[in-house]
């Protein structure tokens, strides 16, 4: 290597280091919305070629390594589709008999996850679909296993999802049988390999059995009802004798998921009877 010998730290080196450190600390203190906006702008311009390269590599990997699995999935889907029409008709009839409204089917979009090297990669995920594909901020993201998170930034050709491992994540949840409602959020003070969720705000009188499936309640309108989140592993702690916090193992692993589905809708509130009548 050419330089190096006899090289000493000059004032300009210290100055450059100082400027870079000040800018780094300024970036750390930047409000989240500004940081996301800046990141989105740079991703859509200067870093667009890099995102494009990774996106294509991911597509090639999928097409080469997972051809057999995809073919098997397609065959299963084709088999299931044969009986789908009959089941749908039967479901419609039964719902009609019970005077229940039809379940809304939300449009979804498949996207590749473009994993990065940073140790914090599992907290946010870069996705290969963006605004041009209909993705918007607030769209829920799911994997075949369960809920992954929520889109927090969308550019023309890519988007960023905040996963359930992010400290800011929260979702209104309900147990499988509907007996207990609560808020699901990530547990703090856990290692990355042992990250899990907590089901908070469950009244003391409501006991949730180990193994119970926890899913989105659909109450806040952010997530559609019924997306699996995780399974209860036990009681984590009790708060002042009025609330229990349950340990929930998430079904979807953001660090390993390679493909996701993005719900292309932002409001999942059930239509109120009054509004339904006014529409009629």
């Amino acid at each position: 290597m050419t330089p190096g010998l006899g090289r000493s730290l000059s004032r300009s080196d210290t100055l450059l280091l100082g400027v870079c450190l000040v800018l780094s600390f300024a970036a750390l203190l930047l409000p989240s919305s500004w940081a996301l906006g800046f990141s989105a702008a740079v991703r859509a311009t200067a870093l667009a070629p890099m995102v494009w390269i990774q996106q294509n590599a991911e597509i090639q990997r999928t097409s080469r390594l997972r051809l057999a699995a995809i073919a098997a999935s397609r065959d299963s889907a084709a088999l299931a589709a044969q009986s789908l029409a009959a089941l749908r008709a039967e479901n419609g009839q039964l719902r009609g008999l019970l005077a229940l409204k039809q379940r809304v089917a939300y449009p979804t979009l498949a996207a590749e996850v473009l994993h990065q090297t940073a140790a914090t990669d599992g907290r946010t995920l870069l996705l290969s679909a963006g605004r041009r594909d209909g993705v918007q901020v607030g769209n829920p993201v799911v994997s075949p296993d369960g809920l992954v998170g929520l889109v927090v930034s969308a550019e023309p050709y890519s988007s960023v999802a905040m996963t359930w491992a992010h400290p800011d994540f929260a979702a209104s949840a309900v147990t499988e049988n509907g007996s207990a409602l609560g808020i699901v959020g990530p547990a703090i003070n856990t290692s990355a390999s042992d990250a899990f969720l907590e089901l908070r705000g469950v009244p003391y009188r409501d006991t949730v059995a180990v193994g119970t499936l926890v899913m989105t309640s659909g109450l806040t309108g952010v997530y559609p009802k019924g997306i699996p989140i995780g399974r209860v592993r036990g009681i984590r702690r009790e708060e002042m004798g009025w609330e229990r916090v349950y340990h929930v193992s998430a079904l979807a692993n953001p660090g390993l998921v390679s493909h996701v589905l993005i719900y292309l809708a932002r409001e999942f509130r059930p239509v109120s009877p009054a509004r339904r009548d006014s529409v009629r």
Binding site: L9, L30, T190
Partner: protein
């Protein structure tokens, strides 16, 4: 045949471009947590050929790119890469790494320290810090060092790296 300074600069730029493209193309084919960080490697190679101040700037730019692609804690990557880039350039001046093992050690240390600083700046819990730094970070540091050794051996003439025999 004489190689002009411009030719040498173009060759270094080509190797760096190759590493950056490889970082984004090779990544999906490998297990994410243990894959070599070729972007960090490119940054270290540039930093080790530069003055500490330039190393800090190159580190800042590479870290900012990392933050933009993983905005879980914006600024953590920029801060960690700035420090690692500065230390790599400074370390080059102190340690004279004209030896393959010392080069590998610098690459590995750079990768591990970068992960440590990212986790600290991200407010990771002690359990997460310990788990990542003791298991995944050393593996990634080792694969990055291995990739670095291969790059140094293949492009030693282009990068004008003199290795002790």
């Amino acid at each position: 045949m004489t190689i002009t300074r411009r030719d040498r600069r173009n060759r270094v730029a080509f190797v760096i471009a190759l590493l950056v493209a490889g970082h984004f193309y090779v990544r999906p084919w490998l297990e994410n947590r243990i894959a070599p960080d070729l972007l960090l490697l490119a940054m270290l190679i540039v930093a080790m050929r530069s003055r500490p101040g330039i190393g800090a700037v190159v580190g800042f730019v590479a870290g900012l790119a990392t933050d933009i692609l993983t905005p879980a804690r914006f600024g953590a990557g920029a801060l960690s890469h700035t420090i690692v880039g500065y230390l790599a350039a400074w370390g080059r001046a102190v340690f004279f790494p004209d030896n393959l093992i010392v080069n590998a050690g610098l690459f590995a240390a750079g990768a591990w320290v970068r992960t440590l600083l990212v986790l600290l700046a991200s407010g990771a819990s002690p359990a997460e810090l310990a788990g990542t730094l003791l298991v995944w970070a050393p593996i990634q540091a080792a694969t990055t060092a291995l990739a670095g050794v291969i790059v140094v051996m293949v492009f030693r003439n282009w990068l004008a790296i003199r290795l002790d025999e």
